[in-house]
Symmetry: C2
Subunit: 201 residues, 2 copies
DNA sequence: TGTACATCAGTGAACGCGCGTTCACTGATGTAC
DNA sequence: TGTACATCAGTGAACGCGCGTTCACTGATGTAC
């Protein structure tokens, strides 16, 4: 404990990062000023140099969780190569699949991403899941797969369905066995159906 | 405090009911053995005559929250009179609308209904939102509005979309202003589209 | 280049709090005879 | 109908704990001259 320098160097970022790791294993309930200070090898009061209170710290942790989700979507989309309508459609499905995969793979982080905080984070999400979705929908329109009039409400439609399916898988909210593959297939088919993707050509 | 009888009479039910009321205003985080005992005018240790620990008490509170949701759906469905396809469709839409209305009207109870507990409630949900949805889908099939092959996955499709939309409204998860009426209309249209309701006639 | 000093980023002890849970107990109830 | 007594459902004090936050402080940094 004595080999660490008196000044941490980047305590603010370190506390947030520690928060993300704690949240990954224990969810929002596992986050406390004292515990994050402990993990960061710093006294609890040091945190108050960087955050006015716990809630502001939580808001940043939550934002990082959302960014991790967005990064996963971005990566999945980038992984689909090629041009043309079929590649564009595959990229759209890839971000939905990544969303659900993230929720199932990191259920506590998923909860943390959408936990309720009174404080607002200092910066906006970067990357942002919302932005990823918006740009993918734009690409679908340009590829001629999504009718322009449907573009306006498309984000709500897609997000609702995918977020709902992810929540169900995470919580096992349904009294019936739903397996991952079934949800993915149903999700893809349903969003296509709801948005009429491809059907107006 | 001295005018109350020594024996409460139905403490178990009273604690659960108190839990529902506390959850309604403060959400799952507002639930504690000590607070519920306080509200019920009973010593904290009395609760342990009826529940092995906090988690088992929470599981019952959560179940009651889900039952309240189911009751709202049931009431909304019953309120739609008449027979025939158009009435059946209206009843189906009514339960989805009631679900979303409940989430927006009682956001903390909605959270409580789907909170995570390690313990399982002693009894199953009665009424059950799942059962309400299942029977409504059966009615749609019988009215010739839903193609039988789509019946199997229909619960997952409907629940995902409605639950997702409700979560979004409750959390204000989208960085865009989404009003209640728009969500309801979009929800109805999308579920119809995804399930192909009415389109195969 | 060297030194005084303001500023910054930590420490550690302490505060008061509410929590879950246990334990020995006591008051009320109801059953057997 | 009356009484002994087992059983049930409460009480209240206590346990140890971890929490958020404050406060007076001190060690390190870096800037002005």
């Amino acid at each position: 404990m004595s080999d660490r320098p008196y000044h941490h160097g980047n305590l603010r970022a370190a506390l947030i990062q520690a928060g993300v790791e704690q949240a990954r294993s224990g969810g929002p309930a596992a986050l406390s000023v004292r515990d994050l200070a402990r993990v960061t090898h710093v006294s609890p009061s040091a945190a108050y140099r960087h955050f006015p209170d716990l809630d502001h710290l939580l808001a940043e942790v939550s934002r990082c969780a959302r960014q991790e989700l967005a990064a996963a979507m971005l990566q999945a989309r980038t992984a689909v190569a090629g041009a043309g309508p079929e590649a564009e459609l595959a990229r759209f499905q890839a971000i939905g699949e990544a969303y659900i995969r993230f929720a199932v793979g990191h259920p506590h982080l998923f909860d943390t991403a959408f936990m309720s905080c009174l404080a607002k984070p200092l910066e906006v999400d970067e990357p942002s899941a919302w932005a990823v979705l918006e740009s993918s929908l734009d690409a679908l329109v340009q590829a001629g797969l999504l009718a322009p009039p449907r573009r306006l409400r498309a984000p709500l439609v897609a997000w609702s369905f995918v977020h709902g399916a992810a929540s169900i898988l995470v919580r096992q909210a349904l009294p019936v066995e739903v397996d991952f593959a079934t949800v993915l297939a149903t999700m893809a088919e349903s969003v296509m159906g709801a948005l009429g993707i491809g059907s107006h050509i």
